[in-house]
């Protein structure tokens, strides 16, 4: 039988460049639309968003030299009430002269401001803070934001305060919370460099995972990961319960 070349199905053709399955700081590929879910009683969401944005902008290095483009920070009224406004003296030093803040009254206005900001070429990135799960921020709205960001190549980090992870088209979705900070060098009793526990729970390009991240003078670092718990045989604590229907042996084998 003569050899017959079989055309490979498109599904079998691998993409030209495989993205790294495991996320790490400083990747060359950065998503255009990320969501960070964080509790409203801490600033870990905004901190992680700033850290990720700084990491993305430095690792992409779209503008060689100093980036003078502005950074847009949009908050809705509920987010301002819960988490306050950005404090200039507490911002990263390179951001202090480049920040433009928008206080939107409603989630609809907030989405409008985000979209307009993504369309603007003078912004290095857009950071949004929105509280809760407003009706306006549905899947359609988030898809709109994703498409706008990808078309105009302006990156968006949307911090969702006290929100349930509902439907969204964000390319990377993080769950962030504060973690005990590293000890300060000169005063062990004082809070040190901020550290967050970040869980990447939905991503297109990367496998989900958890990291302990720290922002040390504008550089995003991964802390030594916690030791994986030793694999132990599952402990059947319900062994003693009365068996109903099936025998204890089947239960144990399953």
């Amino acid at each position: 039988m003569p050899f017959k070349s079989i055309k490979q199905s498109p599904a079998r053709i691998l993409p030209a460049r495989l993205s790294e399955s495991r996320w790490r700081p400083g990747l060359a590929e950065q998503p255009f639309h990320s969501e960070i879910f964080a509790p409203a009683t801490e600033a870990s969401g905004a901190g992680l968003a700033l850290a990720l944005a700084g990491d993305a902008l430095t690792s992409l290095n779209e503008c060689p030299g100093k980036d003078h483009r502005h950074v847009l920070w949009v908050q809705d009224r509920a987010a301002i009430r819960l988490g306050g406004r950005p404090c200039l003296a507490g911002l990263p030093s390179d951001l202090r002269r480049r920040l433009i803040h928008v206080a939107a009254a409603t989630p609809e206005d907030m989405l409008f401001a985000l979209e307009e900001g993504l369309k603007c070429r003078d912004f290095a990135c857009v950071i949004g803070e929105i509280a809760g799960n407003p009706r306006a921020l549905g899947f359609t709205a988030s898809r709109r934001l994703s498409l706008t960001a990808e078309r105009h190549r302006v990156r968006l980090w949307l911090v969702r305060l006290d929100a349930a992870p509902d439907l969204s088209s964000a390319r990377m979705r993080w769950q962030a919370r504060a973690a005990p900070s590293s000890p300060q060098r000169w005063n062990p009793a004082a809070p040190g460099t901020p550290i967050w526990h970040a869980e990447l729970f939905r991503s297109r390009a990367h496998a989900p995972g958890e990291w302990i991240l720290s922002d040390d003078k504008g550089r995003l670092h991964v802390r030594p990961e916690p030791e994986p718990e030793p694999a132990i045989t599952p402990d059947f604590i319900y062994l003693g319960r009365p068996t109903v229907g099936r025998s204890l042996a089947t239960r144990a084998r399953a």
């Binding site: 009683t41 801490e42 600033a43 870990s44 905004a46 901190g47 992680l48 700033l50 850290a51 502005h70 301002i80 009430r81 988490g83 306050g84 406004r85 950005p86 404090c87 200039l88 003296a89 507490g90 911002l91 030093s93 202090r96 002269r97 920040l99 433009i100 803040h101 928008v102 206080a103 939107a104 009254a105 206005d109 409008f112 401001a113 307009e116 900001g117 369309k119 603007c120 070429r121 003078d122 912004f123 078309r151 105009h152 302006v154 919370r177 504060a178 973690a179 005990p180 900070s181 300060q184 005063n187 009793a189 004082a190 809070p191 901020p194 550290i195 526990h197 922002d215």
Partner: protein, 467 residues
Amino acid sequence: MLLADARALCPQLDAVPADPAGDLAFLEKLALWAQRWGPWSALDPPDGLLVDITGVAHLFGGEEHLLRDVASAFTARGLTVRAALAPTAGAAWALAHYGPPAAILAPENDPLRQLGDLPVAALRLDDDVLTVLHRLGIKRLNELAGVSGAGQNDPRKEAAARDALRRRFRNHRSPAAHPLLRLDQLLGRVPEPLLPVIAQVMPLVQRRLMEPIRHRDLLDRVLEDLTLDMVRELEARGHGARRLEMALWRVDGEVLWRRIELAAATREASHITRLFAARLDDVEAGFGIEAVQLRASWTESLALSQADLDAAAQQHGTSLAAFVDRLSVRLGPKAITRPVLRASHVPERAQGWQPPLDPLPLQQDALPFHTRPLKLLDRAEPIAVLYASPDGYPQRFRWRGQVREVVRVEGPERLAPEWWRERSTARLRDYYRIEDDGGRRYWIYRQGIAGDGRGGVPDWFLHGLYA
């Protein structure tokens, strides 16, 4: 007489089908060509041309030389011509049609004297008017002039004579039906506007190819380039194409034509390319195509529009000013701000908000050893301290309904009230940076100290959130 009858009479008759449209087109071309003798030329269908040679004749060495030049140029092209030269178009027409060959009416000559012997048909009148004049017995121009009193010295007599003739033709408005009007035009008493012929250069772009192309994708590329060139050409004129013709020269000399017509004047390259691509499917390239030409044989004016303003914004993004404008319209002018440092050490006054495009004031950077929170609450929220350590800072407090255990603390950082701004009863603040058991970092302060004489037991507030 029918052609069949004529052929029966004279079998050698050479019959050529009439082509009025072709004749007119030829006359138009001839009128343009005739602009070599003067800047303006007008058609006189079916077989005449009028050229304005005012102030031009000396370039040809005088009027006689000009007429000789005209005659030789036409003869060289195999055309028979009768040319005449006069101060008015009507007089020139009359001389050319009914006068002697190469007649010249100089401006100083009396036109009636030179033209008086010409028949009234020299006035470019309609046939029925000519019949009427014949019936009236007016056959020559000077007879008509005599009736109209043109040569009369007495203006009253002249007016009376004209009046009679005018009443005879009072219902005739067009100059071709009004002998008096025509006579006045001939004599130069009434202006006669002419409609000049102006050359419209057809937008034409072409590509000569180094190597004859035989493949469709290359032809598509050439077509794209040509279309872009054509669009640029049309844009420069403010026109849009209604009809486009594409000519493909093959190596063997064959020319293939493809033509599209458009519903509305258009200047869209992609649209034109798509339309032509559908017409290029049956092109036989043969040994190859060596030249491609695209021309817009019918264009209409299409104003330069800003319809793609949004499209440009789609591609290149908006500017910061446009962004500010759009947001200010919807959210109000105060919604969009940028933070600036103010000269104060009290945290809520150390930062102001100003319009985003205003220039930043000169400011001193914050002191690096002042670790400030990432976010500052608009109003410091009171916290209930459940247990304070002997050092003064809270060990356990409740904020927003949750009890937090303080693990690490740094402080206090004492901020005195601004006596130049605040009342004398304002209390100082002792700020602490704290971290609770979950790693959440806050900025809290105690307002006042016990025994400062400005109130009772000091209250605790939470003012900022660290990253």
